[in-house]
């Protein structure tokens, strides 16, 4: 009996000893000491996988580099003609196709053109900067229904009205700094007796049908517009109105059918993309959310007219903005 007990005793000890063996985990806790305290060195310089890339045909390019430790890095591609900027950031010791791929998109408007670009790789905690260049042979194409990109002027079926104020501009302008392409719509002036400076009505019929070619799902349709704010001016307001033909009779009846609006008070200087889900558009009366006028149902497939009004306080002096690339996208906002 005692012998059996001793055997059990020693077996238990042996099992415990084996279980307590010194196997070390194959991962570590916390950030890498090498990243925190190791010396930074560039193991492999910056390189561009495709330095003549045609985004319009679906090509991509990626950037490669390698460092001695993980660091916070920022890759900046700047269009030398447009001034467009694409930024990619990361915290790694390696740049490759998994973390530094570029498919032609833009971080800061305007959109890239077919142009030469400067590539710059910088580090948050290091003074080093790596540089390279690449050529965009074709720009990225964007999906969606384009209301206007102003490259060939305005739609002839649009209706517009402009006040007879001072220093008025209400025309298509051409410049390399357009948000998209080379042209945009220039709106500005001084109107000291009215908030309205000018407006454009864009009827569905301007696109070949009574209604705009949109789906029935208001949560799937997104309205996008690129607007430019001058750094010294902050008095301009852009109001978009979306009129629905609720009863489907082919005309919009004021004060009977729904009109949704969005008022854009530009806060950031330069070009900025504004995107709105159709289902989130509100009924505004004098700029305040109000009860729906018509059936209160967001019905993008019944959208019959879009109006753009440029407004400014009559006492605020000169107001000015640029507008470009009005589109509807499906499934989400436009990703520039």
């Amino acid at each position: 009996m005692m012998k059996m007990k001793n055997k059990i005793f020693f077996l238990a000890f042996a099992a415990a000893a084996v279980l307590a063996g010194c196997k070390v985990d194959d991962e570590f806790d916390g950030p890498s000491l090498n990243d925190l305290y190791g010396q930074f060195a560039i193991v492999q310089g910056l390189d561009v996988s495709n330095d003549n890339v045609d985004f319009s045909s679906g090509e991509t390019t990626h950037f490669t580099a390698q460092f001695s430790k993980n660091v916070d890095w920022k890759l900046t591609v700047t269009g030398l003609e447009s001034g467009a900027v694409k930024e990619i950031t990361g915290f790694t010791n390696l740049l490759d196709a998994t973390n530094a791929l570029w498919e032609g998109s833009t971080t800061r408007l305007p959109l890239f053109k077919a142009e030469e670009c400067a590539v710059e790789l910088t580090f948050t905690a290091e003074v080093d900067t790596l540089r390279d260049t690449l050529m965009i042979a074709g720009t990225k194409t964007y999906q969606g229904f384009v209301l206007s990109d102003f490259e060939t002027g305005t739609n002839p079926d649009w209706e517009s009205f402009v006040q007879s104020g001072a220093n008025m501009s209400f025309n298509v302008a051409t410049s390399a700094t357009a948000a998209q392409g080379n042209s945009y719509f220039d709106i500005g002036g001084v109107v000291d007796w009215d908030w309205l400076i000018g407006l454009i009505h864009m009827p569905g019929s301007a696109y070949g049908d009574v209604h705009f070619p949109l789906s029935e799902n208001p949560d799937d349709e997104f309205f996008n517009v690129m607007l430019y704010k001058e750094p010294t001016l902050s008095n301009g307001l852009v109001l978009f109105q979306f009129r629905e033909d609720d009863n489907n009779d082919g005309v919009f009846t004021e004060n009977v059918e729904d009109m949704y609006s969005v008022e854009i008070n530009m806060s950031e200087n330069g070009w900025k993309l504004y995107s709105y889900k159709y289902g989130d558009l509100a009924t505004l009366i004098n700029g305040q959310p109000s009860a729906a006028i018509g059936n209160g149902v967001h019905e993008p497939h019944k959208l019959i007219q879009i109006s753009m009004l440029f407004l400014a306080n009559p006492n605020s002096g000169y107001a000015h903005t640029y507008m470009d690339y009005l589109t509807f996208t499906q499934g989400g906002p436009l990703v520039p």
Partner: protein, 574 residues
Amino acid sequence: MRIIYQTLIIVAVVAHAQIALAQDDKKITFTGAARSLFYADKLVQEGAENDTVTIPRLNSGHVLVDLGMNIRPNKNTEILGMVRVRNDYGGFWGSGVTFDVRQLYVKGVVGGIVRYQLGDINYRMSKYTMWNYDQELVSNMPAIFQQQTDVINYDHFYNKDNSWRQQGAAAECALVFRKYVNELQLHAVTTRVKASDFGSVSDRLFTGLNAQLVQSKYLTLGINYTSLYDVPGTARTDYAFQNPVLTGTLQAQTSVNGINLSLNTEMGKSRTHYENNTEAPDWSDKFISAIFAAKHETSGLKISANPLRVGAGFRSPGAQTKRIDYNASPVAYDRFTNDQILRTPGMLDYMRESGMFNLQMRPYLMTFNPSYDNITPFGDATPNRQGIILTASYEKKDAPVKATVSRYQLQEVRGEGTLLPRKFARNMVVVDAAVNKFFPAWKKMCHLSFSMRTDNTTRAGEELVKGVDLQTDVMSIGVEAEVLNGFDLMFGLQSIKYEGFDYTAVRNTYSEIFNFSEYRVGNKETLTAFGARYRFSEKTFLSAQMTNSKQQPMLSTSFPYSINQFMLLFNMKF
């Protein structure tokens, strides 16, 4: 299987309770303690610049009485209420006087079966579930320093059995069987660790359950479950902390050829998570520890081996909460030099500064001092350790000397900041000798103690990261000699020298490591004391001593200084 349930009997439990109740037929008895403690300190700075800002002399002290009333309204119930009246020296006519309730509990036996206690409870379970580990450097401290540490421990309810002082309810009972199994003991406790503020802080409770199956004198099996958890709905917050720990224990012993063999094993797992908080981590990890010991009764020699592995994510607040709050600052000379820089606390402060100690279980790993203990800062339950502890000791009844030699050979289970684990080595020698027992004619007490500990933390350097090499050497010598009846002369020396480099983990509120600090130290602290003690009885003494606490930094960023302390302590328990 014919295990016949014989009867429900409280064996040790009821017997203990009834013996206690039967000792004295008085319904009311008084218990408590009295103390008078006075410190006179002098700061001596050894830097080149004369400090004209810091006041060099500080006097402080207090007198207090803990008066407890033990009421036994019937044979199965006991009530203890204890109040503390304290007056700081210099506080006259009521100023500086505090009046606190120190202890309050009710305990008794229900139906002769279940013993319960309500109110203040001292409770402990296993070393990995609920264990209040000693503060650093205390275990082998000379007796002359122990007097001050005892004051701190008494005030903070740090008991010798490593129990936690909690407030709540506990119950226990035992079942005795006729065959196969001797006894089944059941224990349960729930305490309130933190009260809700009705805002963002929920009520936090600690619950412990323990079942011990005593199969025979050879084998005992146990299950422990503890959990520190927030009670949902007690505050305006959705998330709730939960940290359950489940362990199993096995204790086996036998004897072969006069050698007593024993195996003491515990293994288990923990989970740490916050309900309804996606930012908080959800950790699970395990541990196992087995202590194999062999003792030769005749010679008094004992050897033991303790292989262990405690996972990096093992969290057990009941066992990992520390006594010392290393984020606290000392009251005495908290700033010094002409620039009034913060003074880093030393051994003297951790021996006497009451405000640097913690009473509450913490849900996270507390800050520790790698210079004092980088190997087992959270006791046996220190996470991220694996390896073996070897111990050889000599202790024999009536022998004047007992000695222990230990060797820790541990390393991390998971590297911190690198895949390379840090390696830990500790060598420790502890010797206690009752010198007078070597000479039969020498009747008066003469006790000598000596201990030495060397800790090493190492990790090889990598291509771009510095290696780790931190060494701590601790040495203690203590002498107590009775020169007249009850009158002792005492001497103590304790030094700690730490030098080297390590990276210390910086943790967030969830104990996740998010950064590492470079930790470079070089210092030697020395405590030297001599004094006299008169023992009125076993429970009452008067002690006067002079202590010199010396700091000798080796780095130019610190300043050498000494604190000379005179202490007068009268201590009585009744």
